[in-house]
């Protein structure tokens, strides 16, 4: 177990190095640079060149790359080019907000999706095709709705018509109740598609398990169908579900980018979009580095949790 973990950590470092390098060059391959993006229509020609020089964008690429690698090793995130604010500070402020949105989303999704998927499997097994189909199809349709559209619909309905939740306002820990109200809509929007995916996976996984011998044994012992499905089948169907939950937490961080934009939530996604739009190289590099780290770490953790849930898994 320990040697496996060490091996995975080494892999993690190599992956991160790859990401750092890729992002460094990819962001510079997009035409335009921070100077041009900042200046917009205000500058051109010689003035723009001068401005570039001031921002230090005229240094040779390899030099910039070496500087960046060194700073990553030192955990020194530096300052953004366009705002001169420290990147670590910006990320530390944005991170709890995004994690909170993602965390609540996952929680809500799991709480709804797993029972829903299990019920669907239960119904399918009982031969109640129509109800099962209704759940499955609804889940599929909901899954296909783009987040920006769901967001608008929910905003129109919950915010404008019912006046339940605000569409704008400060999101900060200084005003926690407003903050919760503000993140409620994004959480619901994100959870909607998570629920759909998770419920379908749960249904399939549980159905598969329902044909296993031990389930037949359980039935033959006279247990009620409910107990069979929820106690025995679900428990054994957990493995693929955990994988999906883990992976979708990563995807969720992607999803927050759009939702944060629509609801003006000052999270990591907003920071990334700002970085890309303003071609703020260090900002984009470090935010992506963080995303990569989260993805890799989640995979790592998922693998470890596997081991716990199913002791038969050998590393």
């Amino acid at each position: 177990m320990l040697s496996y973990a060490m091996k995975r950590i080494m892999q993690l470092i190599v992956t991160m190095f790859g990401v750092v390098t890729l992002v460094f060059f990819a962001i510079r391959m997009i035409p335009g640079d921070p100077a041009a993006a900042m200046a917009g229509d205000n500058l051109s020609g010689a003035a723009l060149e001068e401005f570039r020089r001031k921002l230090g964008l005229d240094a040779p690429l390899w030099e910039q790359y070496a500087d960046y690698l060194l700073s990553v090793i030192r955990f020194d995130f530096g300052s953004t080019i366009t705002t001169s604010l420290p990147i670590a500070g910006l990320m530390l402020k944005a991170l709890p907000i995004t994690l909170m949105v993602a965390g609540f989303t996952m929680l809500l999704a799991v709480l709804i999706a797993i029972p829903l998927g299990t019920v669907a499997a239960f119904l399918a097994n009982k031969g109640k095709k129509k109800l099962d189909n209704a759940i499955t199809w609804t889940a599929m349709i909901v899954d296909l709705m783009p987040a920006f559209w769901t967001a608008l619909l929910l905003m129109l309905f919950l915010s404008l018509n019912l006046k339940l939740l605000p569409a704008s306002g400060a999101v900060s820990f200084e005003d926690p109740s407003l903050m919760l109200k503000r993140i409620a809509l994004p959480v619901v929007v994100l959870a909607v598609s998570q629920v759909a995916t998770l419920a379908r996976i749960t249904r399939t996984a549980v159905l598969e398990v329902l044909n296993e011998d031990y389930v037949r044994t359980a039935r033959s012992m006279g247990m009620s169908e409910m107990v069979v499905v929820f106690r025995h089948a679900l428990k054994n169907a957990m493995l693929p579900i955990i994988t999906i939950v883990g992976l979708s937490f990563g995807n969720l961080l992607n999803g927050t980018v759009i939702v944060e934009f629509i609801f003006s939530i000052p999270g990591i996604g907003t920071l990334l979009v700002y970085g890309i739009n303003s071609r703020d190289y260090p900002l984009v590099q470090n935010v992506i580095l963080f995303y990569a780290f989260v993805f890799v770490a989640i995979n790592f953790i998922t693998d470890m949790v596997y081991k716990k849930v199913d002791p038969r898994v050998q590393f």
Partner: protein, 529 residues
């Protein structure tokens, strides 16, 4: 086996930390949420309470150092914090006194400004004097500041302050438009030495000016808060605090205004949202013709180099009708590079009313009776707009196949600067007609050096431009501007397409929102009734 188990526990703990760290932070607020006193309290302001104006801000704040300030929404904030020697009247765009009470010049070479006395800096930085003017403008010229606007003072030979309330500028060549250089915009805004030195590289987040509002809090990811400058020389503003909330999505901003979460939308750019708000009874504050969109023809392109082709294009498309059909509120057809409220604007030029037959005839004369295919650049941010699709149809009718090349905005600008395009576009918000014409038409400004993206170089026109700038007699100067516009409209290196309008919808009880010709609002005149 036992060791493994322990490690698993550790890993499991790590796994749930991501979730739980967030949840534990909020378990307290969650219980507080049922009573939720704070949110409702802060959103409703009882009468007699300080007047707080909530404004939707549509982009990321980018800092407020006049030496390095870009983009209209940021300029609007700076406009309210800082002052220049002169300013612009919101309704007419005319130059009016600001920190300078009066000025005089005999020859457009020596400009003497008499400064207002007793003007106080924000945040207790003392009284404003001529030393501040010299410091600010020398700072712009100082290469260490690396201000992109340094070139605006290229024509300044010397600056002197004979006494605390007088500043004298000597220019190298006469400039009848010099007041624009020292107005409340970019390099013209006056800063305080002590504040600049105190904040070092964080100056852009700690602006100190002499304007009606001072910066209280700038959070680049969520909001900007300005408070009233009580010692403002014109007296304190009616509004005590302005909260600019960043709401990027247009629909969200519309809903936020309808919900009463904000009082004003800084710039609403979608016709359908304006429709909704107007029908719901909101006030549609707006300014017309704040800037003209130009089509930029690359004169180095073999087909577009032919003037008849460009004229044919102008005849082939009915820009008025497109604007009327697609965005009647936000646009209308444009008739000149200048705008109708600018000094020197003229319609006494070649005007291209819709005439497809004439377009076909011109194309035939130019040697393209069967038309040709050409590419027009656009930004992926705006995509292929309905305007573009309609224009494509109009052009198809005379045989021109228009294709679109959509790229992101920095790439779009870069292509136009480097000359790697057939047809592109440009919008230049400005108040100074001289600056507009010089930027687009003078050979010194041929891209990438300047804004002359068409790469236009006509010595006759250049000569007229230069004499207009130096001309002391204003009637003669306006005549020269008219001649310049006549040549441009005949040769169409740039084709004016649409003149844009800017809307700031607000609640009905918000008064005094007058959007100036730079699409800015001076919040000093705004009040909540």
């Amino acid at each position: 086996m036992r060791r493994r188990w322990k490690l698993n526990i550790g890993v499991l703990t790590a796994a749930v930390i991501l979730l739980l760290s967030a949840c534990s932070n909020t378990s307290d607020p969650a219980t507080g949420n049922t009573t939720s006193p704070s949110a409702t309290d802060s959103s409703t302001v009882a009468s007699g309470e300080p007047k707080v104006l909530k404004v939707r801000f549509y982009d990321d704040p980018a800092g407020y150092d006049p030496a390095n300030i870009f983009r209209i929404e940021n300029e609007n904030i700076a406009f309210n914090i800082f002052s220049g020697l002169a300013s612009y009247a919101s309704d007419t765009g005319e130059i009016i006194p600001d920190l300078a009470e009066s000025w005089e010049t005999d020859d457009n070479m020596t400009w003497t400004f008499k400064l207002r006395q007793g003007v106080q800096w924000q945040k207790g930085y003392g009284e404003f004097t001529s030393a501040d003017v010299l410091y600010s403008y020398n700072r712009i010229l100082d290469p260490a500041t690396a201000s992109p606007y340094a070139a605006e003072f290229n024509n300044v030979e010397s600056m002197e302050a004979p006494d605390p309330y007088t500043v004298v500028f000597k220019l190298k060549t006469p400039d009848g438009n010099f007041l624009h250089q020292v107005a409340n915009y970019h390099q013209g805004q006056i800063v305080k030495k002590e504040a600049i030195e105190e904040f070092g590289d964080q100056v852009k987040w700690n602006p100190v000016g002499t304007g009606p509002f001072a910066a209280e809090k700038i959070d680049p990811s969520s909001e900007i808060i300005l408070v009233r400058h009580d010692d403002y020389y014109q007296g304190p503003a009616p509004i005590e605090k302005i909260i600019f909330s960043i709401i990027k999505d247009e629909s969200t901003a519309t809903i936020a205004l309808q919900n009463g979460e904000i009082d004003v939308i800084m710039r609403s750019n979608r016709e359908e949202n304006l429709d909704i708000l107007e029908k719901a009874g909101f006030k549609m504050n707006h300014v017309e013709n704040y800037a003209a969109s130009l089509k930029v023809f690359n004169l180095e392109h073999p087909i577009l180099a032919n003037r008849k082709v460009r004229q044919a294009w102008a005849y082939a498309v009915d820009f008025d009708a497109i604007a009327e059909g697609v965005s009647p509120r936000l646009q209308k057809g444009a008739k000149s590079l200048l705008l109708d409220w600018m000094e020197g604007y003229s319609e006494n030029t070649t005007q291209y009313s819709y005439d497809p037959e004439k377009a076909k005839q011109l194309l035939a004369e130019a040697g393209y009776p069967d038309g040709f295919t050409i590419k027009q650049d656009g930004t992926s941010a705006s995509g292929v707009t309905e305007q573009m699709q309609l224009e494509q149809e109009y052009l198809k009718a005379v045989g021109i196949e228009l294709e679109f090349d959509l790229v992101d905005t920095p790439t779009y600008n870069e292509k136009r600067n480097s000359g790697d395009f057939d047809v592109s576009g440009r919008l230049l918000p400005a108040v100074n007609p001289d600056m507009v014409l010089f930027s687009y038409l003078h050979p010194d400004n041929i891209a990438p050096k300047g804004l002359n993206g068409a790469r236009y170089n006509n010595p006759v026109l250049t000569e007229k431009l230069e004499s207009a700038r130096a001309e002391k007699d204003s009637a003669k100067r306006l005549k020269l501007y008219e001649e310049v516009q006549q040549i441009v409209m005949e040769e169409v290196p740039y084709l004016p397409t649409y003149a844009g309008n800017v809307y700031w919808p607000s609640k009905p009880n918000i008064e005094g929102i007058v959007i100036n010709k730079l699409a800015q609002v001076n919040f000093y005149g705004v009040d909540i009734k």
